[in-house]
């Protein structure tokens, strides 16, 4: 088991190295484009261009450029945005990470807990009105675009009903640091968490219900019944446990993508300056160093999330421990 984990960790490092090379090549070795001109931004003076060329080593071989770039991102951290006149890229990313992590972690806890409850309740009562109601609500949740839902949430909690007893606690939009103001951090994030998680609650609830119902057809469920176990125990200990594998797979993909910037729409709607927003702004004004850094960061999280999922697999399914 230790060996399996170590091997997975090695693979993870290898994949991250591969991603960094590919991302680097896309930005800096695309034929016909001058990376220096792009880094320097539009209307850059010849002196700035020369400075960029020198600073990124564009007059030297490609592998030196790669090493220089990685050094600037990971070691010295002095990658500078020329578009935004000397803005340090790495600290900007570092400032955005806690915002996105707070948003996504909170939403993930919410959606995992709620969707497991929904999935179990629907599977246990399959065919009943409760099952149908939950699945219809799930479909509704999946169908609502997050930017629209977010705006509606804002409309209700920030303007229309803000002064009513139900929503007067909702603070104005924006992010508060957890270390400065834990209560404010929590309160500002409650509505974004709910907004972001609704889509995933719908998807995960439906996926889990289907997986549990499939598990309930298995021979070992009949064995469990023949053992005289209660239906609750059969559902939770035997059917749910084996159904969580599909659930975890999905979770790894979604979680990694969200942490890597896919929570953009939620961040924009609620004025949270997270990684998604940072990437979006960088793309708007073609801020190449910033894009490079955020893509590296995002891929890192996707890879880490997938590795964590694989570790959870190993915990969930003993069949993966050997071989």
């Amino acid at each position: 088991m230790i060996y399996a984990i170590l091997r997975r960790f090695g693979q993870m490092l290898f994949v991250m190295f591969g991603i960094s090379v590919i991302v680097f090549l896309i930005f800096f070795a695309t034929p016909g484009a001058d990376p220096a001109a792009r880094i320097a931004g539009r209307n850059a003076s010849p002196e700035v261009l020369e400075a960029v060329r020198h600073s990124f080593g564009f007059d030297r071989p490609l592998y030196v450029q790669y090493v220089t770039m990685m050094e600037k991102i990971f070691v010295t951290g002095d990658l500078t945005s020329f578009v935004n006149r000397g803005w340090k890229v790495v600290p900007a990313v570092m400032d955005s990470i806690p915002v996105t992590l707070s948003l996504v972690f909170g939403a993930a806890i919410l959606w995992v807990v709620v969707s497991i409850i929904i999935g179990i309740a629907a599977a246990a009562t399959r065919g009943s009105w409760l099952d149908k109601l939950l699945m219809a609500l799930g479909l509704l949740g999946i169908s609502m675009p997050v930017y629209w839902l977010g705006e509606v949430m804002n409309l209700i909690t920030q303007s229309r009903y803000h002064d009513s007893w139900a929503f007067s606690w909702v603070p104005p939009l924006g992010y508060k640091n957890f270390s400065d103001d834990p209560k404010g951090w929590f309160l500002t994030l409650v509505i974004p968490w709910i907004t972001l998680s609704i889509l995933y609650i719908g998807i995960y609830g439906r996926v889990l219900r289907a997986a549990i119902i499939e598990s309930l057809q298995e021979d070992y469920i009949r064995t469990a019944r023949a053992k005289g176990l209660s239906e609750t125990r059969i559902l939770l200990r035997h059917a749910l446990r084996t159904s969580l594998i599909a659930f975890v797979t999905l979770f790894g993909l979604d979680f990694g993508a969200l942490v890597g910037g896919s929570a953009l729409l939620t961040e924009v709607v609620f004025g949270l300056h997270g990684i998604g927003k940072l990437t979006y702004d960088a793309l708007q004004n073609l801020d190449l160093p910033m894009i490079m850094a955020t893509v590296m960061y995002a891929s890192m999280f996707v890879v880490i999330a997938n590795a964590v999922v694989d570790f959870v697999y190993i915990l969930l399914d003993p069949r993966l421990r050997t071989s």
């Binding site: 064995t223 023949a226 053992k227 005289g228 239906e231 035997h238 969930l316």
Partner: protein
């Protein structure tokens, strides 16, 4: 009398109509007796035993008749009461040991789970019992086997684990649904020895479902032959094998290759195939495939009648 089944009928509503999977099955089982139930696929042998276990969960199924376990009526018993019997007094061994165990828990955990569902004992006491049980079903290294997952064991070993699980609460009645079908012949022999030995030590009555006449002749005290949801012949093993009365039983026995003497060039086969339970033929269900079929067979369904050795056939009644 451990088990007494009277006029058991199980039917399933389907889109194509009502399927009568079991149509009036009656049998008795004495203490520590082995009853072999023989028949081809779809003859209703498994369904009738699932009904005894209360394991027919299909909402489209209806179960009629009477199943008495030690004098207690099981049909219509509340699920909670039935659960107390299941795994505790009535245990079941399933056909395919590959899929019968939950893949994500160890053998020891799964057996202990059953013990703790019925006995109020500590986890460590349950684990001690598991080790004893695994030793009893001839696991070479019971202590180590407890921490094994199902996928780490061979088919024969898994079936031994399933048997150990079934025996964990000393059931008075053990239902074995083709426990050897999915196994190699050599492994089969071991499992049959085990069932015999356990009958002797635990005094459990055993209902052994199989389609293998060879297994029946080795193991069963009494035999019941099923066809299309009905019992066509029953009798002691000696009676059935030396004096088969129903043409279906005769045909089944005739299709076993003889071990000694001259071998036939072609084994006799039963012509045709089992009827669909949706469209049973008029009269005797075996009629269309029967070599001694005559007019009365189309008029009505033959009764099994009483007596220890009986066959549901008009020819037999006539003789």
């Amino acid at each position: 009398m451990i088990l007494s089944v009277r006029d058991l009928r199980v039917s399933f509503r389907t889109n194509d109509g009502l399927v009568r999977a079991i149509d009036g099955v009656s049998f008795d089982l004495e203490e520590s007796e082995i009853l072999g139930v023989v028949g081809e696929s779809g003859s209703g042998k498994t369904v009738s035993l699932l009904a005894v276990m209360g394991l027919i969960t299909d909402p489209n199924a209806t179960i009629e008749g009477s199943i008495r376990y030690k004098g207690r009526e099981l049909v219509g018993l509340p699920a909670r009461e039935l659960r107390r019997l299941r795994g505790n007094e009535i245990a079941m061994i399933f056909q395919d040991p590959m899929t019968a165990l939950t893949p994500v828990y160890t053998i020891g955990w799964q057996i202990a789970e059953q013990i703790r569902a019925h006995r109020n004992i500590s986890k460590s006491k349950a684990m001690e019992r598991v080790e004893e049980l695994l030793a009893e079903v001839n696991f070479p290294n019971p202590h180590e086997a407890m921490s094994r997952y199902p996928h780490q064991l061979s088919g024969g070993m898994r079936q031994r684990a399933v048997i150990a699980m079934a025996l964990s609460c000393n059931p008075a009645l053990l239902v074995a649904d083709e426990p050897t079908t999915a196994l190699d012949v050599t492994v089969q022999a071991g499992i049959l020895d085990l069932v015999r030995k356990l009958r002797a030590t635990h005094k459990s009555a055993v209902v052994f479902i199989t389609h293998d006449m060879g297994v029946v002749s080795e193991l069963a005290d009494r035999v019941m032959v099923m066809y299309a949801g009905r019992v066509v012949e029953r009798g002691s093993r000696a009676e059935l094998f030396s004096d088969p009365r129903h043409p279906y039983t005769r045909a089944l026995l005739g299709s076993i290759p003889p071990l000694t003497g001259e071998k036939p060039r072609r084994l006799p086969a039963i012509p045709g195939s089992p009827p669909s339970l949706l469209r049973l033929p008029q009269g005797c269900a075996f009629g269309p495939r029967c070599p001694v079929h005559y007019e009365p067979c189309e008029a009505g369904k033959p009764d099994l009648g009483s007596g220890t050795h009986a066959a549901a056939c008009f020819r037999v009644a006539q003789a």
